[in-house]
């Protein structure tokens, strides 16, 4: 008897499996290998720091995609939760001096609690309203960060002295087999390991019962209730998980940057995350990472190469008609509009099309 083709799905369990065909597994292994080797090949601090920020952004974007892409709740308040995570780390990791796993967990817990407080709003308000309430969250949050001076240091910001240590192992200064690696190399491994872990958790979440429930709520919350999904519970749950992940991203951001100020958690940051999930592809975990690589690296690259881009001001009052900040803002706007109008499924959609083309080759059409 002939063996069925490897692309043929014969059982439900096969459709839901976490790791796809042998080819996909090989690709995944190759990706892990690349991530492990990359910091040894690329030793330049600038490029490593860009990749670290991309990784942190990818973590946050996975969180937002769970909420917006899978559960269909629009949140402009993502920056608020990221800020909360960073300040939590400043206290738990910095002032109390606890090790890495504890301050990450503490940040996640704080994020989950805050998300649980905001979540109930999503029950009463749908779509349009929720976007505006979460917009209010950004402003209320900014007011809090500026005025809770004992926690956040007010306008002047606060330093985050959270050490990335697990027992004797310090990601800030990795020593392996006699080799000493720099702080940037250590953080690269830490951040991307967490990206992999959180992507795995998120993927596992969305392929199982809660994930299907979230998508049912997204498509039509009342119809979902009729077939027995507790829509309210899942909406609040999605908010909690999403903001917990956002807080973890904030914790990493704070501890890597070692200093945070209230100016960072503004509307533009939220919009950047929204641009990422739209460009990457709504409702795909892989897309969030793709989007983070594509959009998250932009601000740093523009900042670095601003003198090479015509018309960009390199300093305040310098030549050129557009500042680096304004250019970033414009690019986010253009990306959001272009992708929504031309490719609503984002980069992940493009990737899927290319993949299907080659899967069915030479009979693709």
């Amino acid at each position: 008897m002939a063996k069925p083709h490897r692309n043929l799905t014969r059982a439900y369990a096969q459709d839901l499996r976490l790791f796809g065909s042998p080819l996909a597994k090989a690709g995944l292994a190759a990706m892990i290998l690349v991530l492990l080797m990359l910091p040894m090949v690329v030793q330049d601090d600038f490029w490593l720091s860009v990749l670290i920020y991309v990784g942190i952004t990818a973590v946050g974007a996975i969180g937002l995609n769970l909420l917006t892409g899978y559960c269909g709740q629009i949140s402009l308040g993502h920056a608020f939760f990221i800020g909360a995570g960073a300040y939590c780390t400043a206290i738990v990791g910095g002032d109390l001096g606890l090790p890495l796993p504890l301050w990450l967990l503490a940040a996640a817990a704080v994020g989950a609690v805050l998300g649980g407080l905001i979540g109930p709003f999503a029950l009463r308000l749908r779509g349009n309203y929720l976007a505006i309430v979460t917009l209010g969250l950004i402003f209320v949050g900014e007011h809090l960060w500026r005025n809770l001076k004992s926690v956040t240091g007010g306008n002047s910001g606060t330093s985050v002295n959270a050490a990335a240590t697990i027992g004797p192992f310090d990601f800030g200064k990795v020593e392996l087999a006699g080799e000493v690696y720099s702080r940037n190399q250590g953080y690269f491994w830490l951040v991307w390991a967490l990206v992999a872990l959180i992507a795995l958790l998120a993927k596992n979440l969305v392929r199982t019962r809660p994930g299907r429930a979230l998508q049912a709520v997204r498509d039509r919350d009342q119809a979902a209730e009729v077939i027995g999904v507790r829509a309210g519970r899942y909406k609040i749950g999605a908010f909690m998980v999403s903001s917990a992940i956002a807080s973890v991203a904030g914790a990493l951001f704070g501890s890597y940057q070692q200093f945070v100020s209230p100016d960072e958690w503004n509307l533009l940051l939220s919009i950047q995350y929204i641009a990422i999930v739209i460009v990457g592809g709504l409702g795909t975990i892989f897309g969030s990472i793709l989007g983070a690589i594509f959009v998250g690296a932009l601000p740093a690259l523009i900042d670095r190469y601003s003198d090479a881009i015509p018309g960009v001001q390199t300093s305040v009052g310098g030549e050129g008609f557009i500042s680096v900040f304004a250019l970033n803002q414009a690019i986010f706007g253009v990306l959001i509009v272009l992708f929504l109008v031309l490719e609503p499924r984002g980069l992940a959609g493009i990737w899927l099309r290319v993949k299907t083309y080659f899967k069915a080759w030479p009979f693709s059409y």
Binding site: N128, A131, H143, N147, V341
Partner: protein, 298 residues
């Protein structure tokens, strides 16, 4: 007592600006079901256009206001035609995001053309004041309140008595039935965007003529007008005006009594008062003070 009345007057002037912007939100929301986040961008654009007409081209201020409104209206209708029309039938999420994208495109364009400096619009109001019964009224504030009142009246007359106003109400009520009666939905959508943009430009120019002058952050006031719209009810023009005035009064009074009553809440707490009020209202009456409760079907 005088201080209280003075604060109330400041609140009324601020509330008039909110009301103009919120009216623009309501016009677009009612006819197309879209919340237009780009309103702040259109407001800034209108204000800067007003500056160009008034300062660089040296036309009379009244004419400059009209020209700014007209230009903004063309830009607004252009957005609708070029971008938003492609999104008809898409989920609200996508459309909201598009307008946010537009907002983030307009802002840098405005700063690229006019720069970041604080500009002063040549205008006849300036910082002149009128004193009456111990109270000091800013001429600009009086004009803003007057213009808003006039616009609101014109607005209601337009929707109540003109043919096109009726067409717009019909489209808002039931687009398909309106189409079947021979009303062009495309025209209605384009006109609502034009009206909203003109209202935003009007709010922008009157605001820029005030003591604060004109800076790129002027568009932020549109974000604070969201609470005004929500407070009144998203589909109610009367609600938008009411909401604008309430939010304006609340903000001005908080600012006026910051030192006596609200020092515990931190500096500049008045900035977030609109949002806090909105959250409270949404929990009590999610559809706003004058809005209609929405019926959901499966």
């Amino acid at each position: 007592m005088n201080a209280f009345l003075q604060n109330c007057f400041a609140g009324l002037a601020l509330g008039s600006t909110y009301a103009l912007v919120a009216l623009g939100f309501v016009v677009i929301y009612k006819s197309t079901g879209v919340i237009n986040f780009a309103q702040g961008g259109l407001l800034a654009l209108g204000a800067y256009l007003g500056y160009t007409f008034s300062n660089n081209l040296a036309v009379a201020f009244g004419v400059a206001i009209l020209l700014a409104c007209l230009t903004a209206a063309v830009v607004g209708a252009g957005f609708e035609r070029i971008v938003l029309r492609r999104m008809v039938g898409q989920p609200p999420f996508a459309v909201i995001m598009i307008t946010i994208g537009l907002l983030f495109i307009i802002e840098p364009i405005v700063t690229a053309i006019w720069g970041f400096e604080n500009l002063q619009v040549t205008n006849p109001w300036n910082i002149r004041t009128v004193e009456l019964g111990g109270l000091v009224f800013g001429v600009r504030d009086l004009w803003t309140i007057g213009i808003t009142a006039a616009v609101v009246v014109a607005f209601f007359l337009f929707f109540r008595y003109s043919g096109f106003g009726l067409a717009m109400r019909a489209t808002a009520f039931d687009p398909e039935a309106a189409l079947a009666q021979g009303i062009s939905a495309k025209k209605v959508y384009a006109v609502s965007w034009a009206i909203a943009a003109a209202l935003a430009a009007l709010a922008g120019v009157t605001l820029a003529a005030g003591p604060g002058g004109l800076s790129p952050s002027i568009g932020f006031i549109a974000l604070a007008a969201f609470p005004a719209m929500i407070l009144g009810g998203m589909d109610s023009p009367a609600g938008a005006v009411l909401g604008g005035v309430v939010i304006g009064l609340a903000e001005a009074l908080t600012r006026g009594y910051q030192d006596q009553l609200f020092s515990w809440a931190g500096d500049n707490v008045s900035i977030i008062v609109p949002y806090l009020l909105m959250i409270v209202i949404l929990l009590i009456r999610p559809y706003g003070l004058l809005g209609t409760r929405d019926v959901r079907r499966i």
